[in-house]
Symmetry: D2
Subunit: 355 residues, 4 copies
């Protein structure tokens, strides 16, 4: 069968033929796989923690949607079920044993398509049923390929709900309608995070340091999400009109972090999700603002099975209403390898169609 591989840590990219595995568990035929920044960095050899499952090649792909073609001994799945596989697999620590490998204590986990485990960019794969999430309504179709990136937004929501209890956060009418949250980054993650917070009843402002593509503006307008291009208006200026009560960062650059701590309100909640080793750092002193304003800052990585479930639910509830299909800006064949290195105009999320 076909598989797209890279050679960590060097990188590289190849469509190869690999023998059918003889495996256990549920046999899944891949329908779609998504490509994200992590895939591109793997191909460029920039991810230090990347490593193959065995040998030298690592099959890429951690965002996937497939169809069960042989449930094996599984009691939970049957032929034809739509499924999304999980990325991170637990090690032996306490948090992993509780199903919270996203909070793994010792780093002893593997991640499909990233480190220590082959990914889903291949025609078929065997999977343990515990790591498959059922997509109940076949009507949501290829949108379910967004489940994996969306599960990150669901974990961010979980953290946010927790942090709301540190200091009285709700408005004086009990809602969150008086609250503004700035979401930095307008790629797939940024748009999904913005959408999730919008459904929590907050006023959301999506921020980019460059002018936004038309497709993105149209997505934001449709969903009542504001936006800010900091090359046109500074954050300092914008927060005078719309105070920043909370922020989620999906960019990962220190200048964005500094912009947040400088401009956020007292008692503000900040969730950091993006990482980007390539962006320049500079000389920043952010401590004074963090202390004097009693800020709460939480890092968030990955998500647990419950967040995959919530992501599927979210797509079922809001996929059509929010027009999430407009996030998928291109559908390609496995042979189109140049999509890993070229960036199309208006590109948000590219997916590969396998069958």
């Amino acid at each position: 069968m076909r598989a797209i591989v890279t050679y960590p840590p060097t990188g590289g990219l190849e469509l190869v033929n690999v023998p059918q595995e003889a495996g256990n568990g549920v046999l899944v035929r891949t329908l779609y796989t998504g490509i994200c920044g992590t895939d591109k960095e793997l191909v460029l050899g920039r991810l230090k923690f990347a490593r193959p499952q065995k040998g030298h090649a690592l099959i890429l792909g951690h965002e996937a949607l497939g169809r069960v073609v042989d449930p094996g001994d599984s009691g939970s799945f049957k032929n034809g079920d739509l499924v999304v596989p999980m990325v991170r697999r637990p090690g032996g620590c306490r948090m992993c044993r509780m199903g919270r490998q996203d909070y793994c204590e010792d780093g002893d986990f593997v991640e499909a398509g990233i480190r220590g485990k082959d990914g889903f960019m291949r025609d078929e794969f065997f999977e343990e049923e515990n790591f498959l999430v059922k997509v109940d309504e076949s009507t949501i179709g290829k949108l379910a390929v967004l489940t994996e990136p969306l599960k990150n937004a669901m974990k961010i929501r979980e953290i946010f709900r927790f942090m709301e209890s540190r200091v009285k956060w709700n408005c004086d009418d009990s809602t969150l309608e008086c609250r503004n949250i700035y979401v930095f980054g307008t790629g797939t993650e940024g748009l999904l995070i913005s959408s999730v917070f919008k459904t929590m009843g907050m006023n959301v402002i999506a921020v980019n340091r460059h002018p936004l593509d038309e497709g993105i503006i149209s997505f934001l307008d449709r969903n009542g999400i504001g936006y800010l291009d900091t090359s046109s208006e500074t954050l300092e200026s914008r927060v005078k009109r719309e105070k920043m009560d909370a922020a989620v960062d999906a960019v990962g650059a220190m200048d964005v972090f500094k912009g947040i701590t400088d401009n956020i309100q007292r008692n503000g909640i900040v969730i950091l999700f993006g990482t980007n080793g390539q962006l320049p750092s500079s000389q920043y002193d952010i401590i004074g603002e963090i202390v004097d304003k009693n800020l709460s800052i939480c890092g968030s990585v990955d998500g647990a099975k419950i967040h995959y479930n919530e992501a599927v639910e979210f797509i079922e509830n809001y996929g059509k209403r929010f027009g999430l299909e407009s996030i998928i800006t291109g559908v390609y064949e496995p042979e189109d390898l140049d999509i890993f290195t070229k960036k199309e105009k208006g590109e948000i999320k590219k997916v590969i169609k396998w069958s």
Copy 2:
């Protein structure tokens, strides 16, 4: 009566004679006032937010212990009561109305001896009874001058207890005995914070970038608190022997913050308390570690009345056992103005005796 004043924002320092106020509330005779870094920065004209209550001069002093000499109409106090006055006074925001001016939402507060309100470095002052904290046992005597700096540690403890719920934090025997917390800074705040976490059952390591004075080593040894001088052993090396599960920073420098995020365990809790505009910042990228390790970082400033009460209780319970009197390294007269600018060998906390 005597009063020590400065002239914000320029700074300066003078012992002056001011007329007795004719005031309302409880009349308090000052016994002791403590001097801290904030006072020194006020005198040097380095605190931008410093401002007088009226006119040009601001009476210094936010750490104080006094004795009631006229309770006025107060139902809660009587002549002879030992009292500690609070520093920050509420404005009109929601948090202030709940007695949580330490979480003031709009910055509309005043702070005695710092901004907008005269402080306690004078022979007597009138005070509203709501802002006086009774010191029940006269036996704790001048130690109560530590109530104000200690209340900050109590708020830090409150935040810490909250953050413990984000991810399972307790050891597998339900205690915190397997947990190491690094407290950066070995001045008064650092030592008090270290003491408080010690009483929570954690293993505490006090950190300084310079060799520690004998008096401090003796205080730490006595109380079973470890220490690290990073000019002798790097943090990187130390955490290999004693992992860092949590950290409190009482220094306020970016290199310390970076050292924490680089070296702390996954799911670590970080509380930032110190601010120091004078320390050099450099090029730091801390985001990757915050995200990948799911760190929780909270700023903490000031404390509420409940934290003053807890501080008094802490001194009553642990003052003798922990030998907190060794933190007070010098008792001076109001006339000894050079104590604001000179640093003694072995100095931790200097206090002025008023009567």
Copy 3:
């Protein structure tokens, strides 16, 4: 205009003509009002706290859906908007000032159609815009009349999420799929609560002491909710097959409460919502089980604006999927006053169509 009134505390029921009010705020034309147990008890003169707004008559009706016919000065509403009015209106206590009159501290509130404020069973009413909840999608139509009863389920969910943190509650795969919750009562509230917990990923069992009507069975089957008729199988027997991890009571009888405490698992969560002064109490000792099993029991009454918003969102997301329209078992005219006293076969929720 027409209005349905009762005469607290005596009760009684009459369709009367009342003059158009001359009022402030948003003028709303009533579309539908729902009837619930509280209305029937008001009519029977069984609610001691019932009282008119002024005079002797109280206009009934606290479950309503209307259309804005004159927005007045409101900036938030325009002609034609679908709206649901809130029931309880804040007094002056702290919780009321925070928009949490559902947690009113001193009882100084009024409730439309119940105590101290006329309700919505009339052709039109004026309402302050703060107490109107917009129903965004006109497609959900008359289903929105379920917003008011559903907001109670949303508050119950809020309490449940809080109580989950007392003792580790999630399954070892991070989801709630291993958890069974028993919901007592299969009236409107019971069915809505069951639906809400179903969407949280729990296994839900709806319980009644009598055989269930076909319409209810069909609703439950459609939505994958189990059920138990305790006249056919005892609770004791059922929990041997499906352990009870949590319970919500929408009945309000002591024997149900005792059945829950006897049969629930250790560390169980119980939320009490129903009250029914008419059901016989008996000799019950439930303390031993509450203590030995570390049970958590929370009463829940009413809900805040955020719960109304969440209810609207829930109907938009799940109204069709769950077939919530089958809960509305009868649509009547204001003149059909006997619906307050007669119970139809298969009746769940009756609504009155006003225009």
Copy 4:
């Protein structure tokens, strides 16, 4: 060596000679053991869950203080250390594996001196070091025999702190000084619970249904704890003067529970700790009050190692200040078996001195 045994489930009481065990772990010489209601019920054959470790006899005693006479391989203890052994020992469930056997999910635990494990009423016993709590200051001496009953109060405090977050609970000055908590029961547990809440800054009222003994009144007076004898003044009358914001029940009778739910304020917190199968139950309907007042009711049984540690700390801090020694009203010899069945005038806690 001597040992006091009973024969579950029949009961009975005997001082017997048992051979020295040949065991592993730390060898502890018993100094003091306390007697509580559970011991008396065991002797009367009233505890259904009582069972011997092996054979027919169960050595009594779960409240103990001892001295290490042979530390074995233990790295944590040395000869002469004062230690308190824990009562409940974990089974295999998740909570037990986290050291929270007090929240055991499946009931698969044993309790020394109660069920499945011999207790400490013998001259010596071997103990695993994990289940021994060190008493740091020998100065607290025999007071440490109160550690075991006091650890229950510490778990209650843990639950209370959690429940405080459901609804805004602190006073408008951030403290708990405006809050009244009623503690039902003035035996050892009641007095210890009252003491713990007093140190949290609340106004505490201890309640008994009979006139209080002089010794108890004197203890309460000394510590600023109010009291109520409901045979002299009804609860209804008292709460008009001092509202009930929270309650802890250490009695275990339904009429007390009903008195609490009837008389407590809205949003009240109730913690149930006492169980007493012997007290008569009656016809009670408490649901309406629980619902309408949004009450939070938590059962609490046992405590974890962290609560033993906190109890030791509490005795060190407050033992002398609160005069806890007055709770120990009698010291007896192992031969004085009639202390299990006779009740002395003024009796609170009896202890047996072993060496």
